[in-house]
């Protein structure tokens, strides 16, 4: 009660006016980073390795105790995570919250795979979290975001589809359903390369053993399992086109799912990573501020800028955090997530999910 009153005072308009223009959090953080009136910060309280098979990228589940400002999350939502990864730099990336849906101020977990892709700089946050982070490390969070969530009233029979690391939001949904004691039926299809790289392997095995209305199919492509297709779905889930379905995974899986559900309104999707090179090559990509011009190769503007040696500001690289927002002075761009195109001059675009179509100029 006393805490709540303190919070209400700190969030009052009077305090905001007194602390203008910096805001009260700029002062509180000087006392203790875990004191906040608006922003969300957290400390790592546990790091649990999920996969540490030789040769496979490490995967770890990180438990975070947030400040009282954390409003909780719904199963399937994601959060921006900013960490000082060394050399005075903070890196921010988006991760799915992997634990059961939670209330304000409750601990949350994120499950992180160490990325070895081209963006794995020394400041890679996934490498930091899986290899160097320790209990007590401070992290900067957003509130939980995203509408890839379960409804409050879950239908009698639902289908969950995931691929690779796309399992995290789906796992959060499954765990929440179990806690809510959902009485209906869940069909869960998960594609992964092989058994030794399977995240949450023990927990999945336990769920399979118990049954309890969960029909689990784990398909390891390295062992010759078939990929997602209408035929496979019809066989495993008869009448699937009428069942509410949630799918999260790489672009290939999402596209296969969209093809299988075409013409229905049953499917909700979330890209785990935006499609790469989804654009059309051709024309010239101009970076006006630095005076560089490259041949448009169809990749996102962020990728093309980095390939040209520029270092534009960026964050999640999947169109969520808006930190790469840049002014496009001319040209047509396609949003790789929605497929929408736009050619307004002087438009603010997220360059991580925009591919140029023909000549294009941005202020980079």
């Amino acid at each position: 009660m006393a805490l709540d009153l303190g919070g209400r005072i700190l969030r009052s308009r009077t305090v905001a006016a007194l602390a203008s223009p910096h805001g009260i959090d700029r002062y509180l953080t000087q006392i203790d980073p875990m004191l906040a009136a608006h922003e969300v910060r957290a400390r790592i309280t546990d790091i649990h390795p999920e996969v540490s098979a030789p040769g496979a990228p490490r995967v770890a589940t990180v438990t975070l105790q947030p400040t009282s400002t954390w409003r909780g999350h719904r199963a399937g939502q994601h959060v921006s995570v900013g960490i000082d990864t060394g050399e005075g730099r903070r890196t921010t990336r988006v991760f799915t919250v992997s634990n059961t849906e939670g209330k304000p101020g409750e601990p949350l977990t994120i499950t992180v795979r160490a990325h070895d892709d081209e963006h794995a700089t020394p400041h890679s946050i996934s490498k930091f979290l899986t290899e160097r982070a320790t209990v007590g490390t401070l992290v900067h969070l957003s509130q939980a975001e995203g509408d890839f969530v379960l409804p409050d009233r879950v239908p009698e029979h639902i289908v969950l589809i995931s691929g690779g690391s796309g399992i995290t939001p789906v796992m959060s949904m499954l765990r929440s359903l179990q806690r809510r004691t959902h009485r209906g039926m869940v069909t869960f299809l998960h594609w992964a390369p092989s058994a030794d790289r399977q995240i949450f392997a023990d927990e999945l095995e336990e769920i399979r053993r118990q049954g309890h209305g969960v029909d689990l199919h784990i398909l390891h492509t390295a062992d010759g399992a078939p990929y997602l297709s209408p035929a496979l779905l019809s066989k495993l889930v008869p009448g699937y086109r009428d069942l509410p379905t949630w799918a999260c995974g790489p672009a290939s899986l999402i596209e296969a799912a969209q093809a299988a559900y075409v013409g229905t309104e049953s499917l909700r999707v979330e890209y785990f990573k935006p499609p790469k090179n989804a654009g059309v090559a051709g024309g010239e990509m101009e970076f006006a501020r630095t005076g560089k011009t490259v041949a448009n190769d169809g990749a996102t503007i962020l990728d093309q800028a980095e390939a040209a040696g520029l270092t534009p500001e960026s964050g999640c690289r999947m169109g969520i955090c808006f930190s790469c927002t840049t002014n496009k002075s001319s040209g047509r761009v396609r949003n790789v997530l929605t497929g929408e195109t736009s050619e307004l001059p002087d438009e603010q675009i997220r360059i991580c999910v925009s591919t140029p179509e023909g000549d294009c100029s941005v202020d980079l």
Binding site: A17, S20, P21, H22, Y27, Q30, G82, E87, T91
Partner: protein
């Protein structure tokens, strides 16, 4: 003309300009590659100190009589640090590489009536791109003063010293009004309606600043409210006077060159550096002085590398001076009193109409750079 010829500087050939630019680029690349922990620790420490001075200042107003002077001093220091070493430099993007939204040029707002987005346009874009280009750089005289021979004289400018004094007293308001381009409205080049959007943003910021400094914080000190009100006003005044003096010493001491628009058409990167160097002047002083000036005491290095963290300017300065010697270019620096005297003389000189003399004479008679530190 106050152009390059009569500042004692020689013009560089195209090849020399290119080599000169390459040397500057090399400094920049080396510093960028070296940015890290030390720079972030420095700015976090300055922010911590600024917040501490601010809290101390606000708190000391509760101490009747003996608290007032220290309170004003703390609050003045807080506002100066906030506006200069933190605000000005953060809004230049000097700390964007840190990835901290609190120190990001797009997000930062300063303790000053001028809204940061408006200041960034007129300062970062107009002033830093067109530095000392007549007719382009509106920071030459801020639209109210005559600071260069090539600004046409008018009886209005007889008031030059008075306008400068008023600008100093009301500097934050001058900076805020700067973006409204009142002189261009008077000249009919700009419509009042062009300012509607700017005016809205400005009034919002002004209200917020006035609310805390002149209403809420005074009220919080109860019976001492009038003293707190006065103290907050004095702290804003101290910041105004200090910032005005530092900034005027950056571009208007004797020997600083200005450029015509023709000279800067299709400008190369080398010539841009050359213009920044000759269009700026430094102030010598100790470490605390440099911090309190937001390192704008290194105006030359700031203009050459506006987006490098300002704490690096002293180390860069040594290299820049060495390069200037090799290219036989003036490096304009001197103690505060000397640079201020130069500014003062200029303000008075240009209040009066030019004495008509043949061009050749004028070049001959023009003063050489007063003090070029070796």
């Amino acid at each position: 003309m106050t152009t390059v010829e009569n500042t004692g500087n020689r013009r560089l050939s195209a090849e020399e300009l290119e080599a000169f630019g390459a040397e500057m680029d090399a400094i920049r690349q080396r510093i960028v590659a070296d940015l890290g922990e030390k720079d972030s620790a420095y700015i976090y420490d300055i922010v911590k100190k600024q917040r501490a001075f601010e809290l101390a200042g606000r708190a000391l107003f509760y101490l009747p009589v003996i608290g007032w002077v220290p309170a004003v001093a703390c609050l003045s220091i807080s506002k100066i640090l906030d506006n200069m070493e933190i605000g000005h430099n953060v809004m230049h993007g000097q700390y964007d590489w840190m990835g901290d939204p609190d120190l990001n040029s797009r997000m930062f707002e300063w303790d000053n009536v001028c809204p940061s987005d408006q200041w960034k346009y007129s300062h970062n874009y107009i002033h830093h791109t067109f530095t000392n280009v007549l007719g382009k750089d509106r920071d030459i005289g801020y639209g109210i003063l005559r600071m260069d021979e090539d600004q046409k004289w008018h009886p209005y400018f007889l008031g030059n010293p008075i306008y400068a004094f008023l600008l100093m007293i009301f500097f934050e308001w001058g900076v805020a009004m700067h973006d409204l381009e009142v002189e261009n409205i008077v000249a009919g080049k700009r419509k009042m309606s062009d300012n509607a959007e700017l005016h809205r943003g400005l009034m919002k910021k002004v209200k917020r600043q006035a609310l805390k400094d002149y209403l809420l914080f005074p009220l919080l000190t109860g019976p001492l409210a009038p003293l707190t009100f006065l103290g907050n006003g004095v702290a804003n005044l101290v910041r105004n006077i200090w910032a005005f003096n530092i900034i005027f010493c950056g571009h208007f001491p004797a020997g600083v060159a200005s450029f015509s628009q023709e000279e800067c058409e299709d400008e190369t990167q080398g010539h841009w550096y050359y213009r920044q160097l000759l269009g700026s002047a430094n102030i010598t002083g100790g470490r605390i002085f440099h911090i309190m000036s937001g390192n704008l005491s290194h105006q030359i290095e700031h203009h050459l590398f506006p987006d490098l963290p300002a704490r690096r300017y002293p180390e860069i300065a040594e290299e820049v001076r060495e390069i200037c010697e090799r290219y036989d270019l003036a490096y304009n620096t001197g103690p505060l009193h000397q640079q201020l005297w130069g500014v003062f003389k200029k303000i008075c000189k240009y209040a009066l109409p030019d004495r008509k003399r043949p061009v050749a004479d004028r070049v001959q008679a023009a003063p050489a750079l007063e003090e070029v530190a070796a």
